[in-house]
Symmetry: C2
Subunit: 136 residues, 2 copies
DNA sequence: CTGCTTGCAAAGGCTTTGCAGAACA
DNA sequence: TGTTCTGCAAAGCCTTTGCAAGCAG
């Protein structure tokens, strides 16, 4: 698996104003080394692959911190759990309802022709397109 | 509030192959008389507005049944609860992250120019566009 | 009568929180 | 040394489930 160096991760964290602790580095290493979509549970499992060393509470605290600081993005597609996406810039997703797999729509493959005006007194904070699929 | 008649609701239910019990009629009356987006909790409150007569379990059972039968649609925008939408045909949503308000994008106001091919071996089951907004 | 439906209470799963101990500057 | 972070356990919230009582045909 392609990974970023320890230094690259630390820079990434400090660029987002996040103090580099061991646990945060470990979590960022797994989630942010490449474009990925993971649930807290998957992340917990992978981070602690060899031996447990990051607790569930820390996983959640850290993910919320990362979201807060704009390092990762929350994707809401499944009522039972949140996915975290290491790709922050605008892009869209396929969601396989049967497998729970979340994958990226290739950049530029989706664009709008008409786009509606926002409701009065609001500003946009993001657009998400979820293309739900199931095995044929 | 504009409502459908008892008979219209019963027809609607039977058209979807749902046996018309008192509780189901009451729930459908609230949710389906006009285009609405409601959480289970909102629905529970409104159905039992005068005096409690539909239990929480029945609300959930009934909503799942309605979704199953295609009478209403689930909207996943908030990790903490599911919204149920009485408008079934394809349309999209504004979601105000601050107020939790979910509103419809007017029909025809949004269209795609480019649309990506689906992943191998899958068929589409739906497309949802969520435009997240916050008060300006 | 027979099968489906309801509703209570309990369980379940994901996430958050409180608080004491650990880590770091 | 003082502040921040971690981690355990417990709590919280939404939703589902088990099961006995109720209703409808």
């Amino acid at each position: 698996m392609e990974t970023k160096t320890h230094n690259e991760i630390c820079e990434l964290l400090s660029r987002h104003d996040i103090g580099p602790t061991q646990q945060r580095i470990k979590i960022a290493q797994v989630l942010c080394s490449q474009p990925r979509h993971m649930s807290a549970e998957q992340l917990l499992e992978e981070v602690n692959h060899e031996r447990a060393c990051v607790s569930k509470a820390t996983i959640y605290n850290t993910l919320n911190l990362f979201v807060d600081k704009g390092l990762v993005r929350e994707i809401i597609v499944d009522p039972s759990k949140i996915f975290y996406d290491s790709t922050v810039h605008a892009h869209h997703h396929f969601f396989n309802e049967q497998t729970g797999q979340l994958t990226d729509v290739p950049e530029g493959a989706l664009s709008f022709k008409d786009f509606p005006p926002l409701p009065e007194g609001t500003q946009m904070s993001g657009v998400e397109v979820i293309i739900r699929v199931r095995s044929a």
